[in-house]
């Protein structure tokens, strides 16, 4: 049972040791996975020990991304636990001279009707695990608000994040990032830096410039001095951030028709006679680059011993990072060990992999020593991959009665993934400094939910639909995956246009949506959000209420949001009501936390956030320049779950992002009568839309 043992073993101290390839990002996934195993085995959840992902030991489950952890790892662990339980019942039945269906499992104790019993641990080494087994249908642990396993250690300070790891032979590294994009090092005077107290070495490799020191303040001082003793080219290569949407729609790009339906189901819509359609409604939407903006800057530790490399990282994928490091250093993958250690909240491909590259490259200069690298705040906000700036244009042909005949959605964007070992293998940041050629980001393929085109297909019953993407060749700013990818702007655009169409048709926005929403699960969340969000109630002056709906990736969780905003000197979200259906709910409180957290992050993206840059470099490098939502700006949020215990669990991390953004935009229109199509919804963008 080697494949089983990689996932699940019985510990000597009456515990169940579980290894998932998915990693804890603050989303509570390890607790949810522990619940699934406990549920299926019939053991107390506190007996389940979740181990961090590490290469060669944990199963290879790729990335922890795309709201897929419960679908992937949860489903796999449930099947494995079912097989183990079935095997244990068979063995126990023999031992206890009865049949498996007579046995009852209580917290790992397998009891026969006549009172005799055994345990998983007593028979663990004698199990003959079948290839398949049916999972249980009555759940005792799944569906419960099991407290998160990681929280006690986070309230008493005992839990170690990657930033907190300390090895006895640990040094501190820092990398001097170039002073601009495509800036190249002309020369550097290393002598004054090497002369500083505590500095061990300076490492230069083409444009890669770093230091190693014996403590962190010394490394900080050294890298600050290095900035002064180095001279760089300073080219002006970035587009004008004041006309970013023009740049996006004119830069060289790969154009692809991602969806084209010419089969119009005219029976669903009254298309009368042969008259030409009413004039097209055309609307163009734009959002800027966005930053991950984790509270903890990226951090990693690396150590070389001969031709082997060990890395501690908060990457979303230990195996893909290993593949990338092995490729870069021309090592067999077996010579590289990558272990996950929790970092600060992670919402996509941030600087975690890059800083691991920094640490690995620096540590090569001091074999046998652990080298810890922690990015600065300005580097974190300036050099981690960004979520792409986008333009989405919607063009709609209407039938006479106001129903939609054809929907065309056209998107201009950089690719949404430059993850290690993804298509084309874009290099880590340190390798770029070494001189590796930049490779533009690409979009994940449609089976993975797409990237620029994520949720570009409206979730309504439309007779005609075309989706076209233009993925840019140039990548003046490095982009990669961030929570919901293109869905944030695509859903905003779709739902804004749907509201305009409802107004043209003289229909209530919720009622208009329901006319073209046949999926009962979609209808349910929309109706529930409207009901709980007091949809029909009047709003005060300068206040508005709006709705947004989407099924994430068109295959994931259903989510509808009713937002209320106050629009005076700025746009302030005052209330959110969210209804969500993510199939079977493994941990209701965990789902609420994810849905509410996603919604609050979306408020920030939609109303405030914007990566700023001049022609040379990113300029939004501090929390003052890249402000995120503060406690006083966070509105009350109600999350209502529709549990579907009979259906598979779907992810919750990203489902609320698009619908929340859309609901805010539509609420703003309700308040001011103005449609704002440029994000964020700052006073300047609102004013421009009003003129």
């Amino acid at each position: 049972m080697t494949d089983i043992a990689q996932w699940l073993t019985f510990g000597a101290d009456d515990t169940v040791d579980v290894r998932s390839g998915k990693v804890e990002l603050g989303q509570g996934v390890l607790t949810a996975l522990a619940q699934i195993v406990a549920d299926e085995l019939g053991v107390d959840v506190t007996r389940v020990r979740m181990h961090p992902a590490v290469t060669d030991v944990s199963p290879d489950e790729g990335y922890t991304a795309g709201s897929l952890s419960l679908q992937h790892s949860g489903t796999a662990l449930r099947r494995i636990a079912a097989r183990v339980r079935t095997a244990a019942l068979a063995t126990a039945a023999e031992d206890l001279h009865t049949t498996p269906d007579e046995l009852v499992v209580k917290d790992g104790e397998i009891q026969a009707p006549q009172g005799e019993s055994t345990t998983y641990w007593a028979i663990a080494d004698r199990l003959d695990v079948p290839e398949e087994a049916d999972p249980i249908t009555t759940h005792t642990v799944v569906g419960q608000n099991v407290p998160r396993v990681d929280i006690p250690g986070k309230v008493d300070g005992s839990r170690r994040y990657i930033h907190d790891l300390r090895f006895p032979d640990q040094l501190h590294g820092r990398v001097l990032r170039p002073p601009g994009r495509d800036a190249h090092l002309l020369d550097v005077d290393e002598a004054p830096v090497r002369a500083l107290a505590g500095v061990i070495t300076v490492i230069r490799d083409n444009d890669f410039l770093g230091v190693i020191a014996d403590d962190e303040p010394a490394a900080e001082k050294a890298v600050t001095l290095l900035a002064r003793t180095s001279r760089w080219t300073h080219p002006a290569i970035l587009p004008d951030d004041k006309s970013l949407s023009d740049y996006l729609t004119t830069a060289p790009a790969d154009t692809e028709v991602r969806h084209d339906s010419t089969e119009w189901d005219s029976s669903a819509f009254a298309v009368r006679g042969n008259r030409p359609p009413t004039p097209t409604l055309r609307a163009r939407f734009h959002r800027p680059y966005l930053a991950h903006a984790s509270i903890g800057p990226s951090c990693a530790i690396a150590r070389w011993d001969g031709d082997t490399l060990a890395v501690w990282t908060h990457s979303q994928g230990v195996y893909p990072l290993r593949a990338e490091l092995a490729r870069w250093f021309a090592l067999p993958p077996s010579a590289v060990r990558v272990e996950h250690v929790e970092g600060a909240g992670c919402y996509g491909h941030n600087g975690a992999d890059d800083v691991a590259g920094d640490a690995a490259l620096l540590a090569r200069a001091v074999p046998g020593w652990h080298v810890r690298v922690r990015w600065s705040r300005p580097d974190e906000l300036g050099w981690a991959p960004f979520s792409p700036a986008m333009v989405t244009e919607v063009a709609v042909e209407l039938a006479d009665d106001g129903a939609i005949r054809h929907w065309r959605q056209e998107i201009w964007s950089n690719g949404h993934s430059s993850r290690p070992s993804s298509a084309g293998n874009p290099p880590l940041l340190a390798a770029l400094h070494q001189g590796a050629p930049p490779i533009p980001s690409t979009d994940p393929p449609p089976p993975h939910g797409g990237g620029s085109d994520r949720n570009a297909v409206p979730g309504y019953d439309l007779p005609g639909l075309t989706v076209v993407t233009h993925v840019l060749h140039e990548m003046p700013l490095r982009t990669s995956a961030m929570r919901s990818l293109g869905a944030h702007l695509n859903v905003y655009a779709i739902e804004s246009v749907v509201d305009e169409l409802a107004a043209r048709a003289g229909a209530d926005p919720v009622e208009y949506r329901l006319r073209m929403l046949g999926d009962p699960r979609g209808r349910h969340v929309l109706e529930l959000a409207a009901e709980l969000g007091d949809w029909a109630a009047p709003t005060a002056e300068d206040h508005g209420r709006g709705v947004g709906y989407a099924r994430y990736k068109n295959t994931g969780g259903y989510c509808a949001v009713v937002a209320e905003v106050e629009a005076t000197t700025s746009v302030r979200v005052t209330r959110l009501t969210i209804a969500v259906d993510v199939g079977q709910v493994v941990n209701p409180d965990g789902v609420r936390n994810q849905i509410e957290g996603g919604a609050i992050q979306s408020i920030g993206w939609t109303t405030k956030e914007q990566v700023r840059f001049d022609r040379r470099d990113v300029t939004s490098r501090t929390w003052e320049e890249y402000p995120i939502l503060t406690f006083s700006e966070v509105p009350p949020v109600r999350v209502e779950l529709i549990d579907r215990p009979e259906l598979p669990p779907l992810g919750a991390g990203e489902a609320s992002i698009g619908p929340t953004a859309a609901a805010i935009g539509n609420a703003l229109r309700d308040a001011l009568g103005v449609t704002v199509r440029t994000l964020p919804l700052t006073p300047a963008n609102v004013l421009e839309a009003s003129e």
């Binding site: 929280i151 986070k154 303040p217 929790e342 970092g343 994810q594 929390w623 406690f631 006083s632």
Partner: protein
């Protein structure tokens, strides 16, 4: 230089300009307070100095010579800690040590703060995961965990 941290006296032999956070984390092994920005603008490093919330990342140790420093590790089964568990008041938790220490100062000054007061007190503590409302609920209900 002498520091009193969580009631324990420590002699510290470091450059007086060394940030307090570095001494806490690297010399004393008290890693609950986190580095977030190094500029005193995110609150992840918040500790209490003579009862006042202070950013340990940009406070040099000469400024706390002889003063009483309190960190999250100094709390033992504090009502706020119990309330944060009860409300499951975090996602990643990186900001939580700073948030709990800011809240300790607030509730010591004002045992029954209003929702708006809690939010104002925490406006200097950033949370990216969106756990704000849970955190506010935990602070508001902490007195019931006495």
């Amino acid at each position: 230089m002498r520091l009193t941290v969580n009631g324990v006296d420590h002699a510290v032999d470091r450059d007086p300009d060394t940030p307090l956070l570095s001494v806490l984390r690297d010399d004393l092994g008290l890693t609950a307070a986190k580095f977030g920005c190094g500029m005193g603008s995110c609150g992840a490093c918040t500790v209490l100095v003579d009862g006042h919330p202070t950013h340990a990342c940009d406070t040099p140790i000469w400024a706390v010579d002889g003063k009483h420093v309190r960190t999250l590790e100094g709390l033992r089964d504090h009502p706020l800690q119990r309330a944060f568990v009860a409300e499951q008041a975090m996602q990643c938790g990186y900001c939580i040590a700073g948030i709990i220490m800011t809240s300790v100062a607030l509730t010591e000054r004002e045992p029954n703060p209003s929702d708006a007061t809690v939010r104002r007190a925490l406006d200097g503590n950033l949370c990216r995961c969106g756990a704000h409302n849970r955190i506010v609920r935990a602070v508001l209900t902490s007195h019931s965990h006495d």
